[in-house]
């Protein structure tokens, strides 16, 4: 029986590795710390206007991948190219990349505005040409922009970090957990912002633990586990490949017994008035048939099209 992971596109056309014309092209990227491969032979490409989410459990290698993508960490093998230029520390092409790696952190004794100004001037740029008004509007800090950063909340720092990443109208954004510490309204604002930027042609590579967030904002996703790519594709492709089902019947206890004895059913658990069934590639029609044969009255059987399900299935399958 084919595993769910096997059904997923590992290198589909829309997210092909090292594709010609990809804005961000990662080829056989590997990073080892001693004997441990934190990122292991990762290849992917992100094209103009795409928002690609890196997904994976803690320790999957997402942040290390992003660090290598902006020249902070030296790869043990492979490379990252942005607009065709190989990324090395201080590469000139990084002028076209806005970034926020891990938490947004700042020198605490500076004000938000001073930090933005000095950050931009350090690269030799003129602050007046750095699209400051838009960045400040995104930061939404009001008068607090002139306060010392050490007085900022985590959410304010995060917003300032995103504003900093957007200085100078970058064509590529590399963001690590961009909505970390933000409230729901701010998360929605960032989602709208990223989708608006992608519509303008900005290419975004981000990592997130918030699967619902990735589902809503990303056009593409890459699932990583223990440093390796285990699936990649459009978010829609990943969700469709998920093989979970939600079932409502007249006798839940009896149905649970039937399903648990059915080959191809990985797990069954109660959810609300029904059952959530995780399938091991078995068609939902087979499940429905088994329930009817057992004399149960089937009221509802629907597929679960959620990225979270797909993600958990993929990671679960990979761990086997």
């Amino acid at each position: 029986m084919a595993s769910p992971g096997d059904q997923l596109p590992r290198t589909p056309g829309q997210l092909r590795p090292a594709s010609v014309g990809a804005v961000i092209s990662i080829e056989h990227l590997t990073k080892r710390f001693g004997e441990v491969a934190v990122v292991d032979d990762l290849s992917l490409g992100v094209e103009r206007g795409q928002i690609c989410g890196l997904l994976g459990p803690n320790g999957a290698g997402k942040t290390t991948t992003l660090r290598m993508a902006v020249g902070l960490v030296h790869p043990s093998a492979g490379d990252t190219r942005i607009f065709g230029e190989q990324i090395r520390p201080g590469s000139a092409v990084l002028a076209r990349v806005g970034n926020m790696i891990e938490h947004a952190e700042f020198a605490p004794y500076l004000s938000g505005l001073e930090d933005l100004r000095l950050y931009w001037k350090a690269g030799g740029g003129d602050f007046d040409d750095a699209n400051v008004d838009r960045a400040l509007a995104i930061a939404g800090l009001g008068d607090a922009i002139n306060r010392k950063i050490k007085t900022y909340s985590q959410g304010m720092r995060q917003r300032l970090g995103i504003a900093r990443a957007l200085l100078g109208r970058p064509e590529v954004l590399v963001l690590d957990e961009p909505t970390n510490g933000l409230d729901p309204g701010e998360i929605r604002d960032i989602r709208d912002l990223l989708q608006g930027l992608a519509a303008e042609g900005v290419t975004v590579l981000l990592s997130s633990h918030l699967l619902g967030e990735v589902e809503q904002v990303c056009t593409h996703a890459v699932v990583m586990d223990r440093g390796r790519l285990i699936a990649a594709g459009t978010v829609a492709e990943l969700i469709q490949a998920s093989s979970s089902a939600y079932i409502e019947v007249d006798d839940i206890a009896r149905a649970q017994q039937v399903l648990e004895s059915l080959p191809g059913v990985q797990s069954v658990r109660r959810e609300g008035t029904g059952l959530e069934v995780r399938l091991d590639g078995t068609p939902r029609s087979d499940v429905a048939e088994a329930l009817v044969r057992a004399g149960l009255k089937l009221e509802t059987i629907t597929s679960r099209h959620r990225l979270e399900d797909a993600f958990l299935e993929l990671v679960h399958e990979e761990a086997k």
């Binding site: 660090r67 902006v70 020249g71 902070l72 960490v73 030296h74 520390p89 201080g90 590469s91 000139a92 092409v93 990084l94 002028a95 990349v97 970034n99 926020m100 790696i101 891990e102 938490h103 947004a104 952190e105 700042f106 020198a107 605490p108 004794y109 500076l110 001073e114 000095l118 950050y119 001037k121 350090a122 690269g123 030799g124 970090g161 900093r164 590399v174």
Partner: protein, 281 residues
């Protein structure tokens, strides 16, 4: 490069610790002046105690300070270059990279099109400039306070065989300031090197101060013989002869030249290390 240096200097001037450190370089010469005025020291002793070498000059300089205010900054420099000034320049050097790593702001900076070598050069230059400003502040504060307290006179102590015109003393003071600063450049380079390796500034600062103190202790062990001649602090006090023996000597030249391999060595290791470093903090 200059833009990056400017940014580094602005960052330094925004930091309260810069003012505290420079405040100390003003406070100590003022306290020394007040102490000398309140309780003037007598003529240095006879025999060995009267010697004006690098080890016996303290009493002489404190005594000479009361003869003309021009010597007060010399005495302040002598007192401070033994420890406090070392701590202050170690602070500027050890903080340079490690503080940004500690805050996490280093990764934002290095993910920009800024070559690491250029960032290092800008930070080293700003640390050196601050070290020089700290040394200069000691001298200028001592000079002003000394002139007010003891006047602006020719150094003339026939009993000790000393005579220097005001111009001569001021020239020697400039030379002494540069020599003391240059003598601390090795400490700056070591602190800077360690700063590229650690994520906590205190580690780099302690390493630099520790390096200075250990070399001073080793230098005091005469049984080490000629090995002491290659210690970076061996000629650290040679500059006091400018005021007690009448002029520059070959020890000052040796001391100045001796710093060069240390500075080059520490900076080369810093450059090599920082270029191959993964920025994880």
């Amino acid at each position: 490069m200059f833009a990056l240096f400017q940014v580094e200097m602005v960052k330094q001037w925004r930091r309260p610790r810069t003012y505290v450190a420079l405040g100390l370089t003003m406070l100590v010469p003022l306290l020394i002046t007040i102490a000398l005025k309140a309780n003037p020291p007598g003529l240095p002793g006879t025999g060995e105690q009267r010697g004006f070498g690098s080890r016996g000059g303290d009493n002489a300089l404190s005594y000479l300070s009361t003869k003309t205010g021009l010597i007060v900054p010399v005495f302040a420099l002598e007192v401070m270059s033994g420890f406090l000034l070392v701590v202050i320049v170690a602070l500027f050097a050890g903080d340079a990279i490690a503080s940004e790593a500690n805050w996490g702001s280093l990764r934002a900076l290095l993910a920009r099109p800024i070559p690491r070598g250029r960032l290092l050069a800008a930070k080293l230059a700003s640390a050196l400039l601050l070290a020089f400003i700290a040394t200069l502040t000691v001298v200028l504060t001592g000079l002003i306070a000394g002139a007010i307290a003891f006047g602006w006179h020719t150094l003339d102590v026939p009993l000790l065989g000393l005579h220097q015109s005001v111009t001569e003393t001021l020239g020697n003071l400039i030379l002494a300031t540069l020599y003391v600063f240059w003598g601390l450049a090795g400490v700056v380079a070591l602190g800077f090197m360690v700063s590229t390796m650690v994520d906590t500034p205190a580690g780099a600062i302690f390493a630099a101060v520790g390096f200075y103190l250990v070399t001073r202790i080793l230098d005091a062990i005469t049984a080490l013989g000629s090995i002491r001649n290659i210690l970076p602090t061996h000629y650290a006090d040679a500059w006091t002869n400018l005021f007690t023996s009448g002029g520059a000597n070959s020890d000052m030249l040796k001391g100045a030249l001796l710093q060069i391999p240390y500075i080059i060595g520490f900076c080369a290791i810093a450059w090599w290390w920082f270029h191959r470093k993964d920025i994880l903090s």
